[in-house]
């Protein structure tokens, strides 16, 4: 089976290389047969990579420890779910999985565009084929998943205990699907640049893929935060770790693109900027992978140092050279007549929103790479940790929230400052009122007051857009309000889906502010019957407990939780000892509510004395981060669905195409 997998990958490399050569030469010579051959080669590549993935999973499920990868990341006792996840637990397997997602996207793009966008497709296939070829070189020659050992071990080393968590089974695939999906708009952008067909076809075709990749990457980031929260046992969800940062950076630039592309659609402006954002987003996703896998920056997420770093650096350099070269070559064609009627307009708020989003991406990148710069310039290695990112990102986030609140109220083309102030007076008043109420209630933290006030500002603005729209539609059509609301959002899913995303962001900000500013903690060494308190909760140690499963042994402390003298639940934090002989992993227990999370960790224990060392965190409003994430996903999903205007536009485009054939 290992040999079969190796053979599949070698053949896939040949097929991908052929896809690149055939498509590019087919485009240059305008040979339909070569172009078709290139597209079919991409299907073949997908099929062969899928077979390789199936081979590796079969080897993992059959405990074939003669394969180094299987012996390193699986063992006999590993539950079936995690045997599936073992595919992306190590360097070689995760690159193979990445490649599989890329090939799936590529095959889907070829399939969806078999009758559309024909002039662009040869270069789309060439670009996707180039990226696939690079990853195939990696899995064939550098990070090989099917390497066999000279001596077969009796059992494998098993998966890292911290990865044995349901969120970890979903988080990496989400990140990969998001990251890799960003290759699709990049491929279309390259095709538009190479062919000189720089109308709106390339971004209209990929708009749905971009939103899909954006929200799946965002979901992956949130799931990663959730995993860190429930698994790592430090009571938080985001540590500004270099690998976390690497996923956030392209997400921020993709967010900027999704906003600025609206200006290009409406006014044909910012064409160079949008092209640059798509290129930047793809390059940053490759840079993120380079940071994760090269070992140049130490991180809890990093894979072991390997020879893969220089390869990624080379690929990144080549990608920059080709994409920036093409962009510069086509600059004269991309120049558009920029007209702005007023400084106070939707267009200008989008420009500032782009500035802050790209500025935020730059800040995170700068902070992540600054230790390397410091070492190169001064020879002193320093750390750029959470205090730096929190201090710098908070004002940028406040600026962005202000724009999120103002932007929907400003008209396209032109508004006046007086009209703007008038339109935002109710939302702004709500924000000020929220701050005043919280101040009167005793809140004195300036950051929290500003954050909650801005959240109210954003929330009221967004809800008012729905209310005004519903009222106006109801008046215009005579529909009852609920039907008018549905018709309103159904006819413009992108606009109102975007507003729902804004509400999701607002909820995330509320959760982050509450849980970071008002966090409380307590530590105690308890014997049976002892109690300790955090916030309004008192916990009493009832007993030490243990559970034994084929994969692990759990040892924990059972605590009764009281508030106001009333028992409200039982929590059992503990530690898992995996039989594969690795370090124990902390198993936190959480009592979650909309108001706060009571988060308990057992950091040490002595079963003989019946003694446990416990740490408790009280994290206010943390549940709103996950709820906000859900709202964000819902809004994104809704924004992806085709609406009436879009259907009308594509029908018109089809009619134009038919008319052009007829004449």
């Amino acid at each position: 089976m290992a040999d079969f997998g190796t053979l599949c990958l070698l053949m896939a490399l040949a097929a991908a290389a052929w896809a690149v050569l055939a498509s590019f030469n087919g485009w240059r010579s305008q040979s339909g047969e070569l172009i078709l051959s290139g597209e079919r080669a991409l299907y073949v590549t997908w099929g062969l990579v899928a077979l390789a993935v199936a081979s590796l999973e079969t080897l993992i499920f059959n405990d074939r420890f003669e394969v180094e990868y299987v012996a390193s990341y699986s063992n006999r006792a590993l539950p079936a779910t995690y045997k599936v996840a073992a595919l992306w637990a190590g360097q070689a397997g995760s690159i193979l999985f990445w490649l599989f997602i890329l090939c799936t996207y590529s095959a889907a793009m070829v399939l969806f565009n078999r009758r559309r966008n024909r002039p662009l497709m040869p270069i789309v296939v060439t670009t996707l084929g180039c990226v696939a070829t690079f990853f195939l070189i990696l899995v064939n020659f550098i990070a090989r998943p099917f390497v066999t050992l000279s001596r077969t071990p009796i059992d494998g080393m098993g998966m890292n205990p911290q990865l044995q968590n349901p969120f970890m089974a979903i988080h990496p695939p989400c990140l990969y699907v998001g990251y890799v999906g960003l290759t699709v708009p990049f491929a279309f952008a390259m095709a538009a640049l190479a062919t000189g067909r720089l109308d709106d076809t390339w971004f209209r075709t990929t708009r749905r893929f971009t939103i899909l990749s954006w929200f799946i990457l965002g979901s992956g980031i949130l799931l990663g935060g959730w995993w860190a929260y429930v698994e790592l046992g430090w009571g938080g969800y985001w540590a500004w770790d270099p690998v976390e940062n690497a996923s956030l950076i392209p997400w921020l630039t993709a967010t900027a693109f999704l906003h600025s592309v609206m200006i290009e659609e409406r006014k044909r402006m910012l064409r160079v900027w949008n092209m640059s954002l798509v290129i930047m987003t793809f390059l940053l996703s490759i840079l993120g992978t380079f940071i994760t896998r090269s070992g140049i920056i130490s991180s809890v997420h990093s894979f072991t140092r390997s020879d893969i770093g220089p390869m990624f650096a080379g690929f990144l350099g080549l990608s920059i050279l080709v994409s920036v070269g093409l962009l510069l070559h086509r600059l004269p064609l991309l120049r558009s007549e920029h007209r702005l009627d007023s400084f106070v307009s939707r267009e200008s708020t989008f420009l500032f929103n782009n500035l802050l989003l790209v500025g935020a991406a730059f800040t995170v990148l700068w902070g992540t790479l600054f230790p390397i710069l410091s070492e190169a310039v001064r020879g002193v290695k320093i750390t750029v940790g959470p205090p730096f990112f929190n201090a710098v990102m908070v004002p940028i986030t406040f600026g962005l929230l202000t724009l999120v609140a103002i932007c929907p109220t400003i008209a396209w083309r032109r508004a006046t400052p007086a009209r703007l102030l008038d339109k935002i007076r109710i939302p702004l008043g709500s924000g000020v009122a929220a701050a005043a109420i919280l101040f009167a209630a005793g809140m004195r933290d300036v950051y929290a007051l500003v954050a909650f006030s801005l959240a109210a500002f954003v929330g009221v603005t967004t809800i008012m857009e729905f209310v005004w729209g519903t009222l106006a539609r109801s008046r215009a059509t005579g529909e009852p309000p609920l039907r008018a609301l549905w018709s309103l959002v159904d006819r413009n899913k992108r606009r109102y889906g975007g507003f729902v995303v804004h509400l999701g962001v607002m909820l995330v900000i509320v959760g982050v502010t509450g849980s970071s500013v008002f966090k409380q903690e307590a530590t105690a060494v308890l014997h049976r019957g002892d109690s300790f308190t955090v916030g309004r909760f008192t916990m009493t140690l009832e007993d030490m407990v243990s559970r034994d499963t084929p994969n692990q042994e759990f040892l924990g402390a059972r605590l009764a939780v009281f508030t106001g003298g009333r028992r409200v639940g039982t929590l059992v934090p503990g530690q898992n000892f995996y039989k594969a002989g690795q370090n124990p992993s902390t198993e936190v227990d959480i009592r979650s509510s909309l108001r706060e999370d009571l988060y308990l960790i057992m950091t040490g224990f002595d079963p003989q004395k019946g003694q446990a060392t416990l740490k408790a965190y009280l994290n206010p409003l943390v549940a709103w981060i996950w709820i906000g994430g859900g709202v964000l996903i819902l809004g994104s999903w809704f924004a992806m669905l085709p609406d009436l205007r879009e259907r009308r536009r594509s029908a018109e485009a089809r009619l134009r195409a038919v008319a052009s054939y007829a004449t």
Binding site: D241, V300, E337, F352, W366, T416, D445, A472, G604
Partner: protein, 194 residues
């Protein structure tokens, strides 16, 4: 002379004075407002961080300024829940109880463990660049946007469209004139969609 000067600058003749007035408010005051906002943001990042740090106890300040060296996570001593962090916290408490200031404790750790133990760059020398660069980049970007938008504005000749006439139908709804205008704007947009 005035029309000739306008012609030389490429401005249309007889542009209403009120429009020039709007340039004064929107074209000058808002860019200044944006730039002031960014400078305030930069100040908030450095000063605000200091202000917040001031609300922490010396023990908490030191814990926030040092990274835990347990090797399992990239966390400060304050947030890390491992045994190493607990030992460091105890050591910090002892040093502070021994009469050392927060700065002295941090410096002692830097001498023992190297500059990497600091959780954030210092605000002097080369490290200052880490703090300045993000805001400098955003300020330069803001300046560029202001410059470009002024240039693009001068090309625009379309008449104003923001202040829409009121729909008489709304009078019966007892809304204010401004609210009627907002409703008109939304209604017009929806009519376009239908």
């Amino acid at each position: 002379m005035r029309p000739e000067r306008h012609a030389r600058r490429g401005r249309p003749r007889g542009r209403p004075r009120a429009r020039r007035g709007r340039i004064g408010v929107a074209g000058v005051a808002l860019p200044r407002l944006v730039l002031t906002g960014l400078v305030l943001a930069a100040g908030m990042a450095s000063g605000g961080a200091g202000l917040r740090a001031a609300t922490l106890t010396p023990q908490e300040q030191v814990e926030t300024r040092l990274m835990c060296y347990c090797g399992c996570t990239d966390l400060t001593v304050r947030t890390c829940s491992c045994g190493t962090a607990a030992d460091i916290k105890m050591d910090i408490a002892q040093r502070l109880a021994g009469g050392q200031t927060a700065d002295q404790v941090v410096e002692a750790y830097v001498r023992e463990r190297g500059a990497q133990i600091r959780s954030a760059p210092t605000t002097s020398g080369f490290d200052l660049l880490a703090w300045v660069m993000p805001f400098a980049a955003i300020l330069v970007g803001a300046g560029l946007i202001v410059h470009l938008t002024r240039r693009w504005r001068s090309r625009a000749t379309a008449p104003p469209s923001g202040d829409a006439p009121m729909s008489p139908a709304f009078d019966s709804r007892r809304l204010s004139a401004d609210d009627r205008a907002t409703l008109d704007r939304v209604e017009r947009a929806i009519r376009e969609e239908l």
